[in-house]
């Protein structure tokens, strides 16, 4: 039973990792950018929301305003950072998002202060005992939100015009452009959507740990998730998240005591490398055949 509880709690935290990873995947798919600033976006979104909330705006007002702010941010990022850096090496783009994370974090703290904010979504975080498994209402709520979010994204990308253009861009950027898809527009949309995902992730994480700077550190948890799942696969992000969450929790409890301490800071990466050796492009990443 203890084992099962550890496993479940791992899976539940894995779902949270997956949420952050999805934001990554969206951006990587559409623009090939390994967006290190995703963590800062989570922080910024959650801070914006919580500060609005503290100023008396109810949830239904604060949420859309925050979304709007994230959209403006996405447009600015596309204009000021992505567009001038088009066609540059992945390393350069990665560095640019690192610089971007400084800007966003500085901005977040300059605008909203460095305080730790309490965020109460009004959902009880007390455990329910389900056949010996301890799961809280909040866990169930968070999982439901994650599932709904993924479902909405899936519909958005398979059924709408915008989603189809996005997939076209992901498959073949040049071909997509040649049939008249405007890349900057797609980027703006994708960064906006991933801003929305960041907000949802930020609210769920923030409700647990308080909205504060360390929210931006979730990016470190998302990295092995991405590597295992593949940078460009949403199902991969989810499966990767669950895998990482479960194994690192188990490793901490069962391997940790053998080596004098917790191992989860690096365990996920070693796991990721092991996975890569078997599948060099992640679990769900596309394999490419070298053509010469």
């Amino acid at each position: 039973m203890f084992f099962l509880n550890v496993l479940t709690s791992g899976l539940l935290s894995g779902l949270m990792y997956a949420l952050v990873a999805i934001g990554f995947v969206l951006i990587y798919k559409a623009s090939g950018v390994f967006n290190f600033a995703q963590g800062s976006m989570v922080l910024f979104a959650a801070l914006t929301f919580v500060v609005l909330n503290e100023h008396g705006l109810p949830f239904w007002a604060a949420f859309p305003i925050t979304v709007l702010v994230m959209i403006v941010g996405a447009v600015l990022i596309e204009r000021l950072v992505l567009r001038p850096l088009v066609n540059r090496s992945p390393n350069t783009l990665f560095m640019a998002t690192l610089g971007l994370s400084f800007v966003i974090e500085g901005l977040a703290q300059a605008l909203f202060g460095s305080d730790v904010h309490q965020l109460d979504l009004g959902i009880d975080d007390m455990p329910l005992d389900l056949w010996g498994l301890q799961i809280s209402t909040f866990d169930i709520f968070a999982s439901a939100v994650a599932v709904v979010l993924v479902a909405v994204l899936a519909v958005l990308f398979s059924k709408t015009r915008m989603g189809i253009s996005l997939r076209a861009v992901a498959d073949d950027t040049l071909a997509a452009q040649s049939i008249g898809i405007r890349l900057p527009r797609i980027w703006q949309i994708v960064w906006s959507v991933s801003g929305l995902v960041a907000l949802v992730a930020g609210l769920l994480w923030g409700a647990r740990q308080g909205v504060q700077f360390s929210l931006s550190l979730v990016v470190l948890k998302a990295m092995p998730v991405l590597i295992i799942g593949g940078f460009s696969s949403i199902p991969g992000a989810i499966v990767g998240g669950l895998l990482v969450g479960a194994t690192e929790n188990l490793a901490d409890i069962y391997i940790g005591p053998l080596v004098q301490g917790s191992v989860s800071t690096w365990f996920a990466y070693i796991l990721a490398v092991a996975f890569l050796l078997i599948r060099p492009s992640g679990l769900f990443g596309e394999t490419t055949i070298a053509r010469v």
Binding site: E105, V116, Q118, P127, F213, L217, N249, L250, T265
Partner: protein
């Protein structure tokens, strides 16, 4: 075109600023005492830093503006952002160690344990006394080995014994500890691991079961660890967190059904910033407190009147006035000023040198009467430092969070420092041997 732009950018930054800094030297701070404030107002630890700097600055403003300086000597604060990194702190240290603009450094008040640990060799070489309030390396209390380090007020070993002492009192005496389970949930770092050894000693002495569980940095997931605590049926939890680990831990404890009033937080796990985000889950939570919160102290009232209400305060968010970290800053500043006063009695009312600052610290004696005069009764415990004992008399209270504020559950507790004396001094001796340090001459009086 681009060439010019980029060059201008780069050049202006590097050359411009250095030349400007040279020009700034025209301003004169002769006859003042330099207080280099190695702050961190950005990054993950900013929430714990900002109120501290305000506490320090407000008290120094009070001393300068209302009291006309320390015995007439004004304190000149130069702040330097370190972003909580050791290397930025080093640069700040190097920039100000020899004084600035005519104002010398007498005492350096440390601000982050990373820097304090790393600066050990530097301050020895530069002969600058470094004070680390409640959190330096334990073996530095041996002033014969660490003449320039002053881990004042408190240490984690004493903390461990205070926690055990408090638990013993709750269960009805030390003899009742046998068979009890005390789990320590610690931040997996040098700071967190520091209590492993003293707890092992205490466990051996009193017969309670010592369960040690690490949480990896930053500690935003603790479900597994708390489930482990539940599974092993721990009676008490000594919670040694840092940053985000604190609220997450308190919430998770509630989730697994561990009572908050059986969790005793470490001194860095007992601020408003630690419990507020945990909401109702934190009600009843206990913590070890070296820097009691509150605004009722006489000195706080004075500051409120003469500094805050006069618009000279450093706090942007007034609700932080009287918080744990604000008062920690206040205590830091009070100790600093008292050390300067001690030095002035010996050397005259003028800016002190680092050597004089070191002498002053080794003769610092803040008696209960003096504390009363300062209006800091209850805020500061009596402190007497000597050349061989660089810590003074460690003391802390146990406080409880009622959902809105902290309430003291006990008066100052001193713990069982004697129990660890030999182990700590043996460590200092081992260090002296490794570094082949010459034995220090007996303190000159």
């Amino acid at each position: 075109m681009t060439l010019h732009k980029t060059l201008a950018l780069f050049g202006a930054l590097l050359l411009g600023s250095t030349s400007l800094s040279a020009a700034a030297h025209a301003a004169d701070h002769d006859g003042q005492q330099l207080y280099p404030l190695l702050s961190y107002r950005t990054g993950p630890y900013a929430p714990s830093g900002i109120p501290q700097w305000a506490g320090i600055r407000d008290y120094l403003t009070y001393v300068n503006d209302v009291q006309g300086g320390v015995d007439g000597v004004k304190v000149f604060v130069q702040e330097c952002e370190t972003a909580y990194t050791v290397e930025r702190a080093f640069e700040c240290y190097e920039r100000y160690k020899n004084g600035y603009d005519g104002a010398p450094v007498a005492i350096l008040m440390g601000t982050s344990s990373g820097f304090d640990a790393a600066a050990s060799e530097k301050v020895r070489a530069d002969k600058i006394p470094l004070v680390t309030n409640a959190g330096g390396r334990e073996d530095a209390v041996d002033g014969s080995v660490f003449p320039y380090q002053f881990p004042l007020l408190f240490d984690y070993w004493t903390e461990a014994s205070i926690v055990v002492d408090y638990v013993a009192k709750q269960v009805g005496g030390y003899d009742k500890l046998k068979g009890l389970k005390i789990a320590t949930l610690y931040h997996d770092s040098g700071y967190g691991r520091d209590t492993i050894e003293p707890l092992a000693t205490l466990s051996k002495k009193y017969g309670f079961e010592d369960i040690e569980i690490p949480v990896p940095h930053p500690g935003e997931q603790q479900q597994a660890q708390w489930q482990q605590i539940k599974q092993q049926a721990a009676d008490w939890v000594f919670f040694r967190a840092w940053g985000v680990m604190a609220p997450v831990g308190i919430k998770t404890a509630a989730r697994v059904g561990f009572p908050a009033d059986h969790i005793i937080g470490d001194i860095w796990t007992g601020s408003e910033e630690d419990v507020r985000p945990a909401g109702t889950a934190a009600k009843g939570y206990l913590a070890v407190s070296v820097f009691p919160s509150g605004t009722d102290f006489k000195v706080s009232q004075t500051l409120k009147k003469d500094v805050i209400d006069a618009g000279k305060g450093d706090l942007k968010d007034q609700s932080k006035f009287g918080s744990v970290y604000y008062n920690a800053g206040l205590v830091t500043a009070i100790i600093y000023i008292e050390a300067l006063r001690t030095g002035h009695k010996q050397f005259g009312d003028r800016p002190l040198t680092a050597a004089e600052g070191q002498w002053a610290l080794e003769h610092l004696d803040i008696t209960p009467q003096r504390i009363e005069e300062l209006g800091a009764t209850g805020l500061l415990s009596p402190l007497k430092v000597t050349a061989s004992d660089h810590e003074g008399s460690p003391a802390a209270k146990i406080v409880q969070w009622d959902g809105k504020e902290w309430h003291a559950k006990t008066d100052w507790l001193n713990g069982d420092r004697a129990l660890f004396h030999d182990a700590i001094f043996a460590k200092a001796a081992a260090y002296a041997k490794e570094k082949s340090l010459p034995a220090r001459e007996a303190a000159t009086n």
